[in-house]
Symmetry: C3
């Protein structure tokens, strides 16, 4: 029951999206108990994003939402990995990427809550 | 002070949006103290959403944000109802729908906070 | 490490976006320890938003996400300021604006977490 939502101000081609799906699918396993088999991903490209007043250079806002909790070290590792992925695949600099985490207590799937 | 945000990877026609507005407006009353008279709804259709690596079949990510707290049973009932609505109106299968809840402590309206 | 995400059902011209960037950049300083130098902004215009069943009139859903916590009075002041800005620049009435706050414990930037 994790969800990673990626907003970037650059384009994401369908091919890049496939690559991102695979790589984020691997990355989520850095959170104990989470895997690609429960992962939902959303992608929004060409967003209007400004960071430090600058909306010209590539930038990303990534929201990682997980059911339950995880140790700080897992979030650290996931931030490092997501930052690498977005840098390599979309050319977003590490200093222009925020990764925000939300630990969720109530999460529904298949008509019921976990 | 609830808000239901619906992201789907299928289209939502203006007619369907009207239907969803009515049905979600009724559903929110499953949360004690909440009603359509304070409900904000946002709809995003044709989103890029992948679940379990699959972005072909219909899928939905729904975020329910409420001011304050509610009993687990209310969230259970709302998940069931939202899942039914999205299945019936948009053809999204229950196993492709996440409904995530956020209990909010600070919420502003009309220039001040509740 | 704050982020303000603005969704409105009216258009935001590039010129208005520049104005909003400056004004929200000033407003964030109402939260102790926060400033434009760490602020990320996202803008989504022409969104599908309904409030109290009405999707015709201008409406806005603003999410303020901050790393850590702030006193209630700071959130009060920021709600008042954001509401003024959206009214003046985009013509959204105060009674059609929600400003929702999220206090975040885990937040990454530059490949690591704060």
């Amino acid at each position: 029951m994790p969800c990673i939502q990626t907003k970037v101000n650059v384009g994401i081609s369908p091919e890049k999206e496939e690559t991102l799906k695979k790589e984020l699918g691997n990355a989520i396993a850095l959170i104990p108990g989470k895997s690609d088999s429960w992962l939902m991903l959303t992608f929004e490209d060409n967003c209007r994003i400004a960071f430090q007043g600058n909306s010209q250079e590539p930038a990303a806002f990534v929201e990682v939402k997980i059911f339950g909790k995880a140790p700080d070290s897992a979030y650290e590792a996931l931030t490092a990995e997501i930052t690498k992925i977005l840098g390599r695949e979309l050319g977003v600099g590490a200093k222009r990427i925020y990764v925000k985490y939300e630990e969720v207590q109530h999460w529904g799937w298949n008509g019921g809550n976990f």
